[in-house]
């Protein structure tokens, strides 16, 4: 909805806050950006969304970023390791796993245990990526042995396979199920508390606009920011 505004404001001599953020934050952060701009008319919030792992090397190699919001502690760590973050990153959102099944739930899944059925087609993330790491933790906590048919590189891959009915179930984040608009059904499971993924945010050391960065980070952690994030399905600490 706010898409035209940054372009319009670019004409004025406003101060630009550049936020590098994980792609899964796009909708929430764009909403937050609009509100920040409303609060601070002198600011223009610009986003560069992408995979966290693509954004980290950009920041390390001197991208003109003011804020980095990462979808995993590991990618944030890459930035911290190169002393590119200003101060300690803070946790601002969590994402919780759900079992996603096609709306008609052909395999009648309603718990983690059901995933152990060898005939069931299951998709989940690979252990190397955050959602896979979370899935491993959840399955370990539930002591379920499952054999997935595919170990995806990101959670959207899992989701699209569920949507298209290629698999009977997949382990995805709650935000993804919510964004899928009813094309998949989400099933909560008790061990999901063990299967969370942490989102971290930090201002950048060489930020061209450190004040703006602070304002943005602060807004994300404010009540209004938390509301927007939790509406999108995130857990907010």
């Amino acid at each position: 909805a706010s898409e035209e505004e940054p372009a319009d404001k670019a004409g004025e001599q406003s101060r630009q806050v550049v936020v590098f953020a994980a792609a899964s934050l796009q909708e929430s952060f764009e909403a937050i950006g609009t509100e920040v701009e409303a609060d601070h008319p002198e600011l223009l919030v610009t986003f560069s969304f992408g995979g966290s792992s693509a954004l980290a090397p950009q920041i390390v190699s001197g991208a003109p970023a003011d804020v980095f919001a990462a979808a995993s502690p590991a990618t944030m760590q890459q930035v911290v390791d190169k002393d590119a973050a200003a101060g300690e990153p803070v946790l601002f959102a969590r994402n919780r796993l759900q079992i996603a099944v096609p709306p008609d739930n052909p395999a009648d899944v309603d718990s983690l245990d059901d995933l152990a059925d060898p005939d069931l087609k299951l998709a989940r993330c690979a252990a190397e990526v955050p959602c896979g790491d979370a899935a491993e933790r959840a399955l370990a906590a539930a002591s379920v042995e499952v054999e997935a048919d595919t170990l995806e590189e990101d959670v959207k891959g899992v989701l699209s396979k569920v949507e298209l009915g290629e698999v009977d179930a997949g382990l995805v984040y709650r935000t993804d199920v919510q964004a899928a608009n009813g094309k998949v059904k989400g099933i909560d499971f008790p061990e999901s508390g063990k299967a969370v993924n942490d989102y971290l945010i930090a201002p950048i050391a060489d930020a061209p606009e450190p004040d703006g960065a602070a304002i943005f980070v602060e807004f994300v952690r404010s009540e209004r920011g938390r509301k927007i994030l939790s509406d999108a399905g995130f857990d907010v600490p």
Binding site: E3, E4, P6, A7, V18, F20, A23, S24, Q26, E27, T46, F47, S48, F49, G50, G51, A54, P57, Q58, S61, G62, A63, P64, K156, S160, E163, A179, N181
Partner: protein, 275 residues
Amino acid sequence: MPASTSPDHRLVAARARPPLPLLVPGLLALGFLVLPLLGLALRAPWRRLPDLLTSAQVLDALRLSLMCALLATLLSLLLGVPLAWLLARTDFPGRRIVRALVTVPLVLPPVVGGVALLMLLGRRGVVGQYLDAWFGLSLPFTTAAVVLAEAFVAMPFLVIAVEGALQATDSRYETAAATLGASRWMVFWRVTLPMAAPGVVAGSVLCFARALGEFGATITFAGSFPGVTRTMPIEVYLRLQSDPDTAIVLSLLLLAVSVLVLAMLRDRWTRSGLT
């Protein structure tokens, strides 16, 4: 009576039905390439198209994509055709290695390619730091960076296709041109290039299409700022995260536009030749 390349002057062998061993696999290939798109097109939620087509963000991305892909193709033509010529027509030590090296960016995962570009041209890159220090020039996260990233990924396609075409053209016409006093440059420009034109066109099509579809290297080297570096594929990628259906409509839109552009360019090229 030397070769004629313009179709209307060609001897035409009677065109009966093409032989089955060519027709069947050819049609299979066509089906294989086109049917998935058809499926996609049929299932795509086209009613969202009007919204998308009036969204400034989409239009920005589309405009940016076309412009950058065209510039990248132009850059690739300017640099890549000479490189192809060097590979095809000169003999220097290590030519085989160079030819293999040119192929290499094809295999590199684009994101890694983007990282490599950052390492070279980034603000702290091997070359980039001097650009920054001496000229205050910073390439990454600008539209120029998009063009560079696309050219890096797409140029090898052009080079290899053009080299293949050059290898296949009869170099005796070039020697004839040389006896007429044409410098090597003139031979290249007035004889080699026009005779290899179909290959150059094919290479440019590949290059343009690859550049238009480029995503990994672009987002890594240039970022994804709306209106500046966010091309259609990045837009599609981001939509895939939130709204896959829209993403598909957008891809198909990209397709349609690219087909249109290619048809237009091809026509012009084929009509006027390259001279």
